[in-house]
Symmetry: C2
Subunit: 338 residues, 2 copies
């Protein structure tokens, strides 16, 4: 498909590292604009160079402050950074940088730092899809390190954090939920664990608890998960964290597991895009479908069970061909074409 002039030049500007082009490109994928997808297609061959670090953890654990401190260090090392926050409770999302978060505003003036948030709650499938495309755009724009901030609630079928090369779990002392989730196997063992707010009296207890959980977890190819204590608001422990991130990167490159991890991640990304689009087409098709409304009435009246209703819906969907349904359009009139 031929690209419009503007698209072409947007790709060129993006590949040259232009921040405004990057911002515009991300807005296109975020709004599910076909030009956004086309742009990703075009710049995709230029991706794969960034180190993608995912930081996950409950709201309030201090992920954003930690990202601010990490960004500062990376900039001092001369590396360019992009931050993508997909945490609705993040200060990046709210644009309100109050209290000790004010230091983040420094970065907004630094052309070597690009910060973006996405928090379109209720459209998880679509959000995750868009976030991954945004990360690719950041990569294509030449950002050397991409920091993904997500809420560590896990269990979503499509988990953005799975697409990081290195996964960091951020905990704070006294917050038992996350460690319980880790213990119960609900949350996967990350590559690096940070205990932030490490001036808290319960820090040692928490570190011991984490060691206990890790000692029971299966070893993964010889990588020993480090536990790093930080006080992100003071920058304490952050140099050690950077060292650990670099060590993990070196480890996966040495072991040759990076390509394998990326292949697995890309496979799940392709499948997720497929599944999301299939569901999108189905919902689109059913939105004003009178027969679907009638089926639901039958289900509510307990005359037809949900699985049989689903089977009928799927049969019609497939008979009529999923592909012909428009993916996007303005609200239309109720159809009466039965």
């Amino acid at each position: 498909m031929a690209l419009p002039e503007t698209g072409q030049s947007l790709a060129d500007r993006l590949l040259a590292g232009d921040r405004r082009a990057l911002a515009r490109a991300i807005s296109l994928v975020e709004s599910d604009d076909p030009r956004g997808w086309e742009l990703v297609r075009e710049v995709y061959p230029h991706t794969g160079h960034a180190a993608i670090v995912g930081l996950t953890g409950a709201p309030g654990a201090g992920k954003s402050t930690l990202i601010g401190a990490l960004t500062k260090l990376r900039r001092e090392q001369g590396r360019s950074v992009a931050v993508l926050s997909i945490d609705p409770s993040s200060p990046f999302t709210h644009g309100a940088l109050l209290g000790d978060r004010i230091r983040l505003t420094d970065h907004f003036l630094d052309p070597g730092v690009f910060i973006r948030s996405m928090a379109n709650r209720g459209a998880l499938g679509g959000l995750s899809e868009a976030a991954l495309q945004a990360a690719l755009l950041m990569d294509a724009a030449g950002r050397e390190e991409i920091l993904l901030e997500t809420v560590g609630v896990g269990q979503a079928e499509v988990d953005i954090i799975d697409h990081a090369d290195t996964v960091v779990l951020v905990l704070m002392p006294g917050s038992g939920d996350s460690i319980q989730a880790l213990k119960a196997g609900i949350m996967e063992i990350p590559d690096v664990i940070v205990v932030n707010k490490a001036d808290h009296p319960l820090t040692d207890t928490m570190v011991r608890e984490i060691r206990g959980v890790l000692s029971l977890a299966p070893q993964r190819g010889g990588w020993r998960v480090p536990i790093v204590r930080t006080e992100a608001h003071l920058g304490r422990g952050v140099p050690e964290l950077v060292e650990r991130l670099d060590a993990h990167r070196a480890f996966i490159e040495r072991q040759g597991t990076l390509p394998e991890r990326r292949r697995r991640n890309l496979r799940s990304e392709v499948l997720s895009i497929c599944a999301h689009r299939l569901r999108q087409r189905l919902e689109e098709r059913l939105r004003d479908d009178e027969r679907f409304g009638e089926l639901l009435d039958e289900v509510v009246a307990r005359r037809l069970d949900p699985a049989s209703a689903a089977a009928e819906v799927l049969e019609r969907f497939e008979r009529e061909g999923g592909r012909s349904a428009p993916v996007q359009h303005a609200p239309r009139q109720r159809s009466a074409d039965r």
Copy 2:
């Protein structure tokens, strides 16, 4: 479709409230056996009578102990109870009832109590689907109250808790993660909030925090979310919780929102079953598909972007017809039919 003799009698025995028939029926839906789906279809007209209460909260908050205490009270009221636990960290799941959980074993001997757990991690779509079918079977078997235990991590596209008539969030003092999630809007406002382990010194602080969050949340049709303090292991506060549950039930019945809530839940259940089956068929189709392997190689080599690969996969899937793919079969030979 004609039912085999055994299926027929299983349905009859289930509807008569036979515990072994119920256990067998749930095993069928859990293993995705077509006889399970057929059974649900058959008994579905007899469902819709049970009060479905979902209890959600982080691992360690004491949901299982609370469910034990609730069950005891409901039995004293002469009501039959079924417990369905979908929390991998639950003692119900492990069958290990140690320490103060030992009292739950009393219930195992009571024919008026049926306890079942499902925790097939990694198959969330399928798990959630099976759990909802299991709840329908419990309902058909005449259980008056169904207690669903889930981990409150939210954000999964298909959330089992959405299918409860009354949602209870169980918190414990000092555990900040859940309240932060509530505050950030990641977790939906429940119908009833329990602060368990209320002998903890931080209880008052937590109750104040919750009040703060609730005061900012939008009112929902006049229901004021109660905060109940419990010490579940001693049974303290549990009678008050039962009162609140009954009050919420009376409220939704009086307001007429129960049918509306159930219609919304059933709609999302039908869509989830459809989406899950579409994805299942797609993955099945791709499992040994050489062309998909080649597409992935292209993606990994950065020559083809994930969305374009997904578009090609979908096009082939639709051209070849999703319906012809077998849903279940033994591993087959690699096909070389390109």
